[in-house]
């Protein structure tokens, strides 16, 4: 388990948290739980409740619809936000590729977290915009 100072250092290197000063990051660190997953473990399961917001610190995850990989996420990426924001069940499986380390926030706490850290929320808004452009272009 990384100590608070190490975790602050680590999160400050991620784009998602890049706008936060150290005292605010310390608050963030205290809200998040660190978790590990072995290779092949499903972190989120399509259609099953029990949601969370995850930020990937080590390893990779495969986002899968059935047997098909639709995305591969790496360090700094986040997942699980859609089900929470929309109040729906996860739309895909998210599976650990290799050993994975994440920080996790329980679903019900996400809105409050985002409202307290609007810079993080704005980063997510920009990333969703980027993903949306990708999805739209992909279809044409």
């Amino acid at each position: 388990m990384a100590g608070t100072e190490e975790m602050i250092d680590e999160l400050s290197g991620l784009a998602l948290f890049a706008d936060l000063a150290r005292p605010e990051l310390a608050g963030v660190v205290h809200t998040l739980d660190e978790e590990w997953y072995p290779d092949g473990q499903r972190i989120l399961r399509e259609g099953l409740s029990g949601t969370g917001f995850y930020v990937l610190l080590e390893g990779e995850v495969s986002v899968r619809l059935g047997e098909q990989e639709v995305a591969r996420l790496r360090r700094g990426a986040y997942f699980g936000e859609a089900a929470i924001l929309l109040g729906e069940l996860p739309g895909a499986d998210v599976v650990a590729v290799g050993r994975v380390r994440v920080v996790n926030l329980a679903g019900p706490a996400l809105k409050d977290f985002l409202m307290r850290h609007p810079n993080v929320m704005f980063r997510i808004l920009q990333e969703q915009t980027r993903r949306l452009r990708g999805a739209i272009q992909w279809r044409r």
């Binding site: 619809l65 639709v70 936000e81 859609a82 924001l85 929309l86 729906e88 739309g91 895909a92 809105k111 985002l114 409202m115 609007p118 929320m121 704005f122 997510i124 808004l125 920009q126 969703q128 915009t129 980027r130 993903r131 949306l132 452009r133 999805a135 739209i136 272009q137 992909w138 279809r139 044409r140």
Partner: protein, 140 residues
């Protein structure tokens, strides 16, 4: 349109669903009413976006590469991605018959995003819903 009428029009837009009245009023103060004649361009593909448009009356035809992608009616919106990431527009839109829109300039919207986490949250939900809709559309 009065500010109250503008706020009522904005309240019907999915992207602003659930915004507190104070947030809607602040947006309404910034929204300009723009009238288009039949065939007038509302946004042009490839241009860097300077505003988000909400159709109040009439309709808009969304065109990409000469192909019609969608028709938007009252309460529907366009131009939101370019406002957030300031990248070129992905499609053009033309008025179908006399059409009135509410226009929110990017710089005004950006200022509101800075001041109003509820607005960021509402846009985030709206974009995430579209992203999920697109990926479901693709997978089934």
């Amino acid at each position: 349109m009065t500010s109250a009428q503008k706020a009522a029009s904005l309240a019907r837009v999915g992207l602003f669903a659930g915004l507190p009245p104070a947030s809607l009023d602040a947006l309404a103060e910034l929204a300009g009413e723009v009238a288009f004649e039949d065939g007038d361009p509302i946004v042009i593909q490839g241009q860097v976006g300077t505003g988000l448009f909400v159709v109040v009356s009439g309709a808009a035809r969304v065109v990409h590469g000469g192909q019609e992608l969608a028709r938007l009616g009252p309460g529907e919106f366009l131009g939101e991605l370019a406002v957030i990431d300031r990248q070129p527009r992905m499609a053009s839109a033309f008025a179908m018959g006399p059409t009135t829109c509410l226009a929110l300039a990017s710089w005004d919207l950006f200022r509101r995003l800075d001041a109003d986490p509820d607005l960021v949250h509402s846009l985030l939900r709206g974009l995430t819903a579209r992203l999920r809709h697109l990926s479901e559309h693709h997978s089934h």
